[in-house]
């Protein structure tokens, strides 16, 4: 998911840098006011924690393994403002020390994973958590938000790559998003298990009403919301608008084929079929994404049901 240098063009890099620079400025301003002095070292340690947690591999089928991405986990534990700062630090060190993710693409990477993962993920978490209520809501919210953050980051990365002309949207969008529909499931599972584990030992650390970096004011919520929707509008919507257009064109081609009897018979059907398949791949992916969203929401609900009674009946 870390976009290396050489894949994005100038306008995309500058847009990404401006958006994440604004988000980082908001986060630092908020922390300077709300974060207690004694919690300042916690930001650095939390960043080191995210890095260390990413090095622990969870076994998946067939000898492969995956690891935590951690943006929603850190947002749930520390609050949205702190999450942006911590994830920015993680991405900067990964870039400068490990050359993972480009230096010029840093802005776009921070926006995809830090801002959308941290603040967007936190917003989803809070909405679901409030709707469902209690500890069950925490688990359900964390699971759903973790999945959404992985998928959203992939959508944005696909949009940025397509906008830069690196790869066409019809290919990069299905490829990135389909993979992350699955990665998101793993991320949701690990996030939930870790939140439950922390809740058992230190319930005070998983208190949704009192995140370490303090609650957001309405103005800050509006500002973050504006930044994220601006990012979605700039990076993704140019292609989202092309979907019905693509459909229309397929219909046009098919209608034309119907009328034109003189067209070469042998080659055309296959070529048109392939064309319509390539054009409809993003559409199919968006459908899969929509169905996946509903399924994961239900799955999160079931997970919360299954996990919570057990923690209550278990002797301490």
């Amino acid at each position: 998911m870390h976009i290396p240098d050489g894949f994005l063009d100038g306008k995309t890099m500058v847009t990404g840098a401006v958006l994440s620079g604004c988000a980082l400025g908001l986060s630092v301003r908020q922390l300077r006011r709300r974060l207690p002095r004694r919690r300042v070292p916690l930001m650095g340690l939390a960043a080191a924690f995210v890095f260390a947690a990413q090095m622990l591999n969870f076994p998946i089928a067939g000898g492969t393994s995956g690891h935590l991405l951690g943006s929603v986990l850190i947002a749930v534990l520390l609050g949205p403002g702190a999450a942006v700062l911590v994830l920015t630090a993680v991405l900067i060190v990964q870039c400068l020390v490990f050359a993972d993710g480009g230096l010029l693409s840093l802005g776009a990477n921070i926006f995809n994973m830090g801002v959308v993962g941290g603040v967007g993920g936190y917003a989803i978490y809070r909405v679901v958590q409030k709707l469902a209520g209690g500890l069950r809501g925490v688990i359900m919210g964390a699971a759903f938000a973790a999945w959404c953050s992985a998928v959203l980051a992939a959508v944005l990365a696909a949009g940025e790559l397509a906008l830069s002309g690196t790869a066409p949207w019809t290919i990069v969008f299905p490829a990135m998003v389909n993979v992350h529909l699955l990665i998101g499931l793993g991320e949701a599972a690990i996030t939930v298990l870790v939140v439950v584990a922390i809740q058992r030992t230190r319930p005070d650390l998983v208190d949704p009403s009192a995140p370490a970096s303090g609650p957001l004011s309405y103005r800050q919520v509006a500002a973050y919301g504006l930044l994220i929707s601006l990012g979605l509008a700039l990076f993704v919507s140019p292609f989202a608008c092309a979907w019905p257009d693509g459909l229309e064109r397929v219909a046009e081609t098919l209608g034309f084929a119907h009328r034109a009897a003189a067209a070469p018979l042998a080659a055309a059907p296959l070529a048109e079929y392939r064309l319509s398949w390539v054009r409809s791949a993003p559409l199919a992916t968006s459908f899969a994404g929509a169905i996946g969203t509903v399924l994961v929401f239900l799955l999160a609900f079931v997970t919360a049901r299954v996990l919570i009674p057990r923690t209550r009946t278990e002797p301490r």
Binding site: H2, P4, D5, G6, F7, D9, G10, L24, V28, L31, R37, R38, R39, V40, P41, L42, M43, G44, L45, A46, A47, A48, F49, F51, A52, A53, M55, L56, F58, P59, L68, L77, L85, V86, T88, A89, V93, L96, V97, A99, D100, G102, L103, L104, L161, T166, A167, P168, I171, A175, I190, L193, V194, V195, V196, A197, I198, R200, T201, L205
Partner: protein, 198 residues
């Protein structure tokens, strides 16, 4: 034990002796030139080879680092193959990405991270972010090793159990690691205050 992330950042060479801000600026200039212009990669490549020669960093080490990171770039670049004129775009992207990678690897191996942080502080990056970066860099491997130790201890005690249990025990290791990190942060705060941190 703390092992070094950038083992060659403290050797002595003409490149290492340059001030950190100059190296950071030069790296940025090289990156911008590589990414934004279509034909700049030939002079950039020549400059980078000169830097490698001057910096006395073992070439084998650089190649290993590059090979380690190249698959990440290749994975995304492969998507570019699936369009018209894809081979040209693919080749261009791979060359550009490799040069950019080499630039960043050279920067991090000729400049200690603390010096880079000093530059960031001088260009008015918020102090909170710089402090966070400094502490993160210092405790990266302390925490990574602590996590690995806990994972190993857990694995010894629950040898050969199923996958679902492995996930749960690993998750509790991660959770415990977070709790320990917050406790360590409190101790660090006390230690920082004792040394006169504002």
């Amino acid at each position: 034990m703390i092992f070094s992330l950038d083992p060659h950042s403290r050797i002595d060479s003409p490149v290492h002796r340059l001030p950190a801000w100059a190296k950071l600026a030069a790296a940025l200039a090289l990156l911008v030139a590589t990414v934004t212009t279509p034909r700049a990669f030939i002079p950039v490549g020549v400059v980078l080879i000169a830097v490698v020669a001057l910096s006395r960093i073992p070439v084998l080490f650089l190649l290993k680092r590059l090979l380690l990171l190249e698959p990440l770039a290749l994975g995304v670049a492969l998507l570019a193959l699936l369009q018209e004129g894809g081979v040209r775009i693919f080749a261009l992207i791979v060359v550009k990405a490799t040069l950019c990678l080499l630039t960043v690897i050279l920067l991090s191996n000729t400049t200690p991270f603390a010096d880079l942080l000093r530059v960031l502080r001088r260009v008015r990056v918020p102090a909170l972010l710089v402090t966070t970066l400094a502490l993160m860099y210092r405790y990266l491997f302390v925490l990574a090793e602590e996590g690995e130790r806990m994972r190993r201890a857990r694995a010894c005690r629950t040898y050969g159990v199923g996958r679902s249990h492995a996930w749960k025990s690993l998750a509790s290791v991660v959770g415990r690691l977070f709790v320990r990190s917050t406790e360590r942060a409190e101790r660090i705060h006390a230690a920082m205050c004792a040394r006169g941190w504002r």
